[in-house]
Symmetry: none
DNA sequence: AATGAATGAGTCTTCATTCAT
DNA sequence: AATGAATGAAGACTCATTCAT
């Protein structure tokens, strides 16, 4: 992942990955067999890491659901995640997900779990407020909005600030119930 | 662009591009000098094509501004644009924009003009309704939401339908003035 | 020849030659048919130019033969000939003479006429002084010494000065009769 | 070096070098990284080989200095060195020395050490005979004469015989003290 | 006669993978 | 289990030559 951030997906060759990890060239094939498998496991780890950092926030039962959503948005646009090199890793993977069945599967699972968690949280809010919402569509929107903001800001950080991005998501959460 | 859609950015080699275009291998370098320049011009054309199809809708002075936004959304999720292979072209380019100064510049211009056009249209609506909105943030949100939906649907068309995607954007337009 | 001086023999491509001569790319093949033929004619011209400048000095009947030799040496190490870029042309051709029968023939004729002219002049001096010399060997030596000095100075002008080079040849002329 | 001798410098492609050495194409870049580095090391080896064969002769302290020079000349025009293909290697390198800083440096060092060794030997002879000579110029002359003879004979072995070449150098050694 | 767009063979180089140690 | 030398297919790019205009 460090190599993808540094050199881009196409530039993350086995040679550079080994140098970055201070590991012998042969070790990669010894452990992973194939570069594709290495990439797959790296994407899996990236997903897991993100899941740990954000989605679990949504599952805390004893917390205000709206506050949970807002906390998750804050993480996604906070200094630990919303960095050009880190977002570059995601974009790097996105560009090849379509070409690998393994990555496609991983990706589908990630987004499914993800949207489901959002949807459940929107439902919690709706229940609490006694106001029905199309929670599924709200979840789709929130998830896509965050990815779109990640994407656009990573490609051009001059276009808007991290604060703008965070505020855009907060607005969406607010307006769903307006 | 056809080659990027078919093989992904990394797989769009000069050989395949030539085969796809039924053109000799040397012709590419004769005309473009460098693969990077070919890519740059392809991205420029893609941007221009999209600009022509959508943004100009927003500039029609004699039309209801909200209807303009909705028409534009409809184009972006209509059958001419919202196709996996076509969206794959955008994703392919996104993955390398960060590595090429030329593409970065093109990209920045595209998004600047784009957000500006949305912002002006939101302003028009606000003026008409006599209700102030943060038009800049609305433009950022709409643009990012559309890219996010493109991205996620292209990587996994099972997650939601084109109708869902369009509706998500329509909701956003509606709720900005809620 | 300008291109060879500028870019080296290997770097003297038809494209660069055309640019240097401000002539269309097709013209070269139109006139010379083949690059090899162009090179051949260029080498012929280079030889002729040199012949005109130097060897004809040796044929002036009404001049002191030793002075003729010295005048010729002076030309060869004078500012018009003894320049890195000009000598670079010779070295460039030398590197391919062995690979082309046409150039080989041209080269053989040049050196034959050349050594013959030197030899005759050495003979004249010998006759004048009434002192027999091995004029053939003297001619071989003088010719080779000049080429060796051209070569070494062109590859490294710091090794010795043009004055050194000229003096070395003058010494040889002197010592042949010592 | 065998490839340069066979095909000329321009014709010594990596493919041919690999075929000549019965080695895989990738090995070259694995070991040398770059063709230029391969060439540099080849030139370094050629220089070293020559140095070992000839210049060390001049450093034997307990030998008659004039005899040392003559022995060195004999090596340079003996059957092990004075062969068309071997001399072709030198000419091949000469044609690119001017284009590569690395080769230039190597070349400068070679000739400097070389002329110095000759000069010291001429000085030894002069001391022994009690007769002063311009040893520096004699060294320049001897070195250049040998290169010139190598060059001319390699390009056209019909012009003179190896014996002629050797004798020309011997003459020069003799006449320096005439 | 002159042009320059088009060609495709050939160049160096990169890189995932293999395999003897 | 771990290494890294070796491989060769594939990449972008160069260039002499061809040919329709």
């Amino acid at each position: 992942m460090r190599s993808i951030a540094k050199y881009g997906y196409a530039g993350a060759t086995i040679g550079r990955i080994c140098a970055e990890a201070q590991v012998s060239r042969g070790l990669i094939n010894h452990h992973f067999g194939t570069k594709e498998e290495l990439i797959r496991q790296a994407y899996r780890d990236l997903c897991e890491e993100w899941t740990l950092q954000t989605r679990d926030l949504l599952l805390e039962a004893d917390r205000d659901p709206e506050e949970k959503l807002r906390a998750m948005v804050r993480v996604n646009f906070g200094p630990g995640v919303f960095k050009q090199d880190h977002l570059g890793i995601w974009i790097g993977f996105w560009s090849v997900i379509g070409k690998s069945a393994g990555l496609k599967k991983l990706n589908r699972e990630l987004y499914k779990q993800d949207r489901d968690a959002y949807q459940r949280t929107f439902d919690e809010i709706a229940r609490k407020r006694g106001k029905p919402v199309d929670s599924r569509r709200a979840a789709i929107s929130l998830s896509a909005l965050m990815d779109g903001l990640w994407l656009q800001w990573c490609l051009d950080p001059e276009g808007f600030t991290p604060k703008d991005a965070e505020a855009a998501c907060m607005d969406l959460v607010t307006r769903v119930f307006a």
